[in-house]
């Protein structure tokens, strides 16, 4: 029994390459899908490049970056070859989640690294173990954000997040209309929350 028969598609249907058409494939990857694939490839490569420095800082962070890089490169080639239809919702949500994580890490900082781990520019994070100390004893060096987990935006960051966001927009466009509405509403809600939180901090 072929996959086609199992999925109940017309047995005669074949795609451009003469293979049986399957539900998780587009007939031909559109320009949008291929562009999204290429953009995710770029983002994946950026994550490959920065994995070693994150391993050096904190091993779990390195593992996370390696996993993200692998997933993005796989998704990129799948989109390029037109085999990613079934994972489209997962791709949209995980890309959106990754962007959200990035925004948090560059604005308020991530709540990791509390146990002897570190990000570049500061080895001491998390609770200060100073019995009897009044307040915080950790100097904050101007510019280096010492004592904070907020990282500054670098060139690679900007390239990566721009590629991811453009890919995200293209992937949303590939979704079915009904699905697309709930996804864009969800994204809008997150975006509005981000702006409101920023305004609340900056203007109060």
């Amino acid at each position: 029994m072929t996959a086609t028969a199992r999925e109940g598609l017309p047995a005669a249907a074949v795609d451009d390459e003469g293979e049986p058409l399957r539900a998780h494939r587009w007939r031909t990857p559109s320009v949008e899908a291929r562009t999204a694939g290429a953009l995710l490839g770029v983002a994946g490569l950026v994550h490959v490049v920065v994995t070693p420095e994150h391993v050096d800082e904190w091993a779990p962070a390195g593992v996370f970056f390696a996993v993200v890089a692998t997933a993005q490169l796989w998704l990129g080639q799948a989109l390029w070859r037109g085999t990613a239809k079934r994972v489209l919702p997962a791709a949209v949500l995980s890309t959106a989640g990754l962007i959200a994580l990035y925004v948090v890490s560059r604005t308020v900082g991530l709540p990791f690294h509390s146990d002897g781990a570190a990000v570049s520019g500061g080895g001491h994070h998390g609770p200060l173990l100073v019995p009897g100390g009044h307040g915080n004893g950790m100097p904050v060096i101007p510019g280096s954000e010492g004592g904070s987990t907020v990282e500054p935006v670098g060139l690679l960051d900007a390239v990566c997040v721009t590629a991811e966001f453009a890919a995200l927009a293209l992937l949303v466009g590939l979704m079915a209309v009904a699905q697309r509405r709930s996804v864009t509403n969800l994204l809008l809600a997150v975006g509005v929350c981000g702006w409101v939180a920023w305004a609340a901090v900056r203007f109060t």
């Binding site: 559109s30 949008e32 050096d56 800082e57 904190w58 959106a96 962007i99 959200a100 990035y102 925004v103 560059r106 604005t107 002897g116 781990a117 570190a118 570049s120 520019g121 500061g122 080895g123 001491h124 173990l129 100073v130 019995p131 009897g132 100390g133 009044h134 307040g135 915080n136 004893g137 950790m138 100097p139 904050v140 060096i141 101007p142 510019g143 280096s144 954000e145 010492g146 907020v150 500054p152 935006v153 900007a158 997040v161 721009t162 966001f165 995200l168 927009a169 949303v172 466009g173 697309r180 864009t184 509403n185 994204l187 809008l188 997150v190 975006g191 509005v192 981000g194 702006w195 920023w198």
Partner: protein, 523 residues
Amino acid sequence: MSLSRRDLLKLGVVGGAALALPLERTVRAGTSTQSRLASSRLPKPFTLPFRVPPVLQPSRVDSTTDYYKVYMKPIMADVVPGLKTPLWGYNGSVPGPTVKVAQGRRTVMRQVNNLPATHPLLRYTPWTSVHLHGSPSAPEYDGYASDITNPGQYKDYVYPNTPTARTLWYHDHGLHHTAENVLMGLAAQYHLTDPLEQSLPIPHGEFDVPLIVSDAMFATDGQLYFDNHDESGMFGDVVLVNGVPWPVMKVKRRRYRFRLLNASISRSYRWSLDSGDPFVVIATDGGLMPEPQRVKSFRQGMAERYEVVVDFSRYPVGRRVVLGNSSPKNNIDYDNTNKVMAFDVVGDDFDPADNAVPDQLNPTNPVMALTAGDAVRTRRLDLVRKNSQWTINGHTWDDVVRSRFALVEANPAEGDVEVWEIRNSSGGWFHPVHIHLVDFRVLDRNGVAPMAHELGPKDVVYVGENETVRVVMRFEGRGKYMIHCHNLVHEDHDMMSQFEVVAGESTDPMSDPCRSLPEDGEL
């Protein structure tokens, strides 16, 4: 693609947040950085007059003890002409006032933390812990990093002054911001004399001169400029001696004794005189060497003390002799960090007494008689960078704190002699290692005899790049004491651990905590 206008609008809101908010935050953080004072605005070397810190007077004296009151407080200092620099000084002096005491007299120093509640720029609470470096103080008076005194509190430190004559220094040791507190000015010398030192015909009095060398960088507004280079070190483009940038000192045509203290946060020096003449090293951290050592240049790590005699009688009046620095590896150098200070030879009359260096200084110091064969065991200290932190045997002071101060690297019994093998297997940095409580003898470095200038009793040893240094010491004292790197940025992040001299009875380092200032502020 079939995104509707509404879809695009929604995505625009999200995309705007994703791209703009991180950038906005980064730009805002960037604008809060200090801007560094241009090197053209720094004073020219050898234009400012040399000065010696004041001598601290006791507030009370009884038959056994000298009592001192020291207030740590903020001042506006004139360091770079034309600018005001906020600093913190012991009694408002940077460097702090020198304490002079004779062996056997006890001192009690009341250290009052009158610093602001938070550092004006770096926003930390400047708690303090005062360490008298070179003194076998009881654990509760040793400046244990976690035995802290907050602003508005004070602590009485008791010092026995039992060891041999030496150049000590008192400086801040407060947990996690020692580097910043010391850079702000909390460091000073402390001279202990004994009958042997007094009887030798080496220079005394006005010819026995403290040289506290440090480095700093300044911002355009006159404040100190802070950059710890990702917690690797703080380096300045200005070299200060007794708080003055590249001073010039008038010297008479005779011998002078200089008590060289490297009080820099992270910079090590290799001294030389531009005349090519040697220094005669007469004392190291723990006091007089068995015999003087003549060296044309020598390196000095942070917190090391060397007493050197320089003979200016060999120069004509009007000659300028420059003390230079050919930087050891892994320092960050600037235009004038190769210069330290200048000596202008003058023809004034001088007292001809104490103008010699005898061939024997202190040949019977038991520390210098110790050999590896006396040791009951050998221990290893590994200085390693791990998870972006500086560690000793993989441990940090946070580990010590988390263990409720139980974690120790070594637990010799009282009176034990041990060899410690201190290993720095990196080529990227050096670590001057300070072992509290003890005086040790340096046995060898990478299997080779120690350098000539190290042939005296020591309490800090320069563990350079890819060096393994062996030291031998006898543990006299009781209780817990710190071991740490004296690159104070390393110490703060967090290359510090401890050992315990095990004895029947000992006191806890936290057993005599600070007290709050009375309401009226009067003590």
